[in-house]
């Protein structure tokens, strides 16, 4: 930590000295700091098993770190999982690596998509919003009545992305969103994310191990190894010519 400099308004997402994991004696993340400016797209690169997904879950307030703080729009996270205030939880949209595991097998795609709206009591205009998002991510109306086991991985990931966008989050965390998908679906999903960001000014944290993809997709790419002990200084809309690592 120490000599951090945040120019302009507060970062959309900031992790300060986060230590997290599943065993106190051997945490996966040790003293990690990272900031994503408003409207900025940051790619996070790292080898398998290094803790990228844990970092993504901490960022989305889904995993309580042992130490450190998470700030959303300059405001400190006041809890984790259910204890996090609903407004903070829903400010971060998450897309997980495996759509099969991230979709309740009993819900149809339409119900899956609308679930966050129902959970937050915004039940007005659900059909319209569902149809609009389904079209945006490229899901035909005939797919919306199907359950997860009746569609392909790519189609299911499209639905999961739509679900992450349905509450219009200010930060989008994509944890290896395209790792299991082919090139054309990857391109389509990245295009959806970029259209959303252009329209909403949301920040993006894209976690992955595909350097070529992240370099082309994001404003800047950081390597996981450089995050430890505040080695990374955040910038706002930094040029994409600083691939770390």
């Amino acid at each position: 930590m120490g000599e951090r400099t945040v120019p302009g308004p507060a970062a959309a997402l900031e992790l300060r000295g986060v230590t997290a994991g599943y065993d106190r004696r051997a945490p996966v993340l040790r003293d990690v700091s990272l900031a994503v400016g408003a409207g900025e797209a940051v790619g996070l690169l790292g080898p398998s098993g290094c803790g990228k997904s844990t970092l993504a879950r901490v960022s989305a307030l889904l995993h309580r770190p042992y130490a450190g703080t998470v700030l959303l729009g300059g405001e400190e996270a006041r809890g984790w999982r259910h204890r996090a205030p609903r407004a903070q939880r829903t400010a971060v949209g998450v897309v997980f690596q495996q759509p099969r595991l991230a979709a309740d097998p009993r819900l149809t795609l339409a119900a899956l998509l609308a679930e966050p709206l129902r959970a937050t009591g915004r039940t007005d205009g659900i059909p319209a919003r569902t149809a609009e998002l389904a079209e945006e991510v490229g899901l035909g109306p005939e797919l919306l009545g199907r359950r997860p086991h009746e569609v392909s991985d790519g189609q299911l990931q499209r639905a999961c992305l739509a679900r992450a966008l349905v509450l219009r989050p200010r930060v989008l965390v994509c944890d290896e969103m395209t790792a299991m998908l082919d090139a054309s679906t990857t391109a389509a999903l990245v295009a959806v994310v970029e259209r959303y960001r252009a329209g909403s000014g949301a920040a993006l944290l894209a976690v992955g191990h595909d350097r070529v993809l992240l370099d082309r997709w994001c404003d800047r790419t950081v390597h996981y190894a450089d995050l430890v002990s505040g080695a990374v200084t955040p910038g706002r809309r930094a040029p994409a010519d600083t691939p770390a690592g």
Partner: protein, 283 residues
């Protein structure tokens, strides 16, 4: 040349059909016989006592001249009532306790499961006898006794299932989407454990029937004049030693046949919800 009289059926299909047929026959018998044949199953006819099976009395008569077939049907009625209601009671209690423990986790989970362990360490028939002894004999004390002593295994099953579901990414996604604890439980966890809890309930019906019979056999269940399968076997004990087999055999079959039929259906259900099969269907 062989002419197939029946279309070739898989062993599983045969099992399903036989089980469904038996369950339907049993359900029909207990529902319709009392309506169609308004005979008194408690009518004593000392002139006709201990008649072996004949056309007049297909299952013979017992030591008080009562028709064994009629009494078996009435006994099965009581046993099924006890079995189904007690199994439902136990399943509701077990699912609630297991889901609460699994969903809460941490200290609550440990405390609840230790209480479950304490109850499990007492033989449940003994506990059931203790509960029955607190009431006047009747159907409902037996239901309460069986229901209150059989939720432990369901609680364990449901808790294990909830623990496994709780860590899935789709629960994370629901929390991230703003779902409350209650909504996660009702919308995602409960529907996920229902197949397991339902299977536990179905398997518990025959078990509960056996318990009713055991309590009645020990003289603690239903009043002795009441036709119940356990009471009948208990009454027939003496005559069995004298070589009169029918008052024991037929009520015994009335316990065993529905048990096997329900267990057969439960087995098919278990195959259907088997995680490996389920994942094969999904992938």
């Amino acid at each position: 040349m062989r002419i197939p009289l029946l279309p070739a059926l898989s062993a599983r299909t045969v099992r399903v059909r036989v089980s469904v047929g038996l369950v339907a026959a049993v359900a029909g018998a207990v529902l319709l016989v009392p309506l169609l044949f308004p005979l008194d199953e408690q009518a004593v006819d000392m002139a006709n006592k201990l008649h072996p099976p004949s056309w007049a009395h297909l299952f013979g008569t017992d030591d008080l001249g009562r028709d064994v077939l009629l009494r078996s049907v009435y006994g099965l009625r009581v046993s099924l009532l006890v079995g189904v209601v007690a199994a439902l009671t136990a399943t509701v209690i077990g699912t609630a306790v297991g889901a609460a423990a699994g969903a809460s986790g941490g200290r609550v989970d440990r405390l609840v499961m230790r209480v479950v362990d304490v109850f499990s360490s007492v033989p449940h028939l003994l506990l059931g006898i203790f509960i029955v002894a607190m009431f006047r004999p009747g159907v409902w004390p037996v239901v309460i006794s069986v229901g209150l002593t059989h939720w432990l295994s369901t609680a364990r099953i449901v808790r294990a299932e909830v623990l496994s579901l709780r860590s899935r990414p789709y629960i994370d996604a629901a929390i991230s989407g703003g779902a409350s604890r209650w909504r996660v439980g009702v919308r995602h966890l409960l529907p996920g454990v229902l197949p397991q809890a339902g299977l536990a309930a179905v398997l518990m019906v025959p078990h509960a029937i056996w318990h009713e019979s055991a309590l009645s056999f020990l003289g603690l269940g239903l009043p002795t004049h009441r036709a119940s399968l356990g009471n009948m076997i208990q009454d027939a004990r003496g005559t069995l030693l004298a070589g009169d087999w029918w008052p024991t055999l037929f009520p015994g079959l009335f316990i065993i046949v529905p048990t096997l039929a329900i267990a057969g259906l439960a087995g098919v259900w278990r195959e259907r919800i088997n995680p490996r099969r389920r994942s094969e269907l999904m992938l």
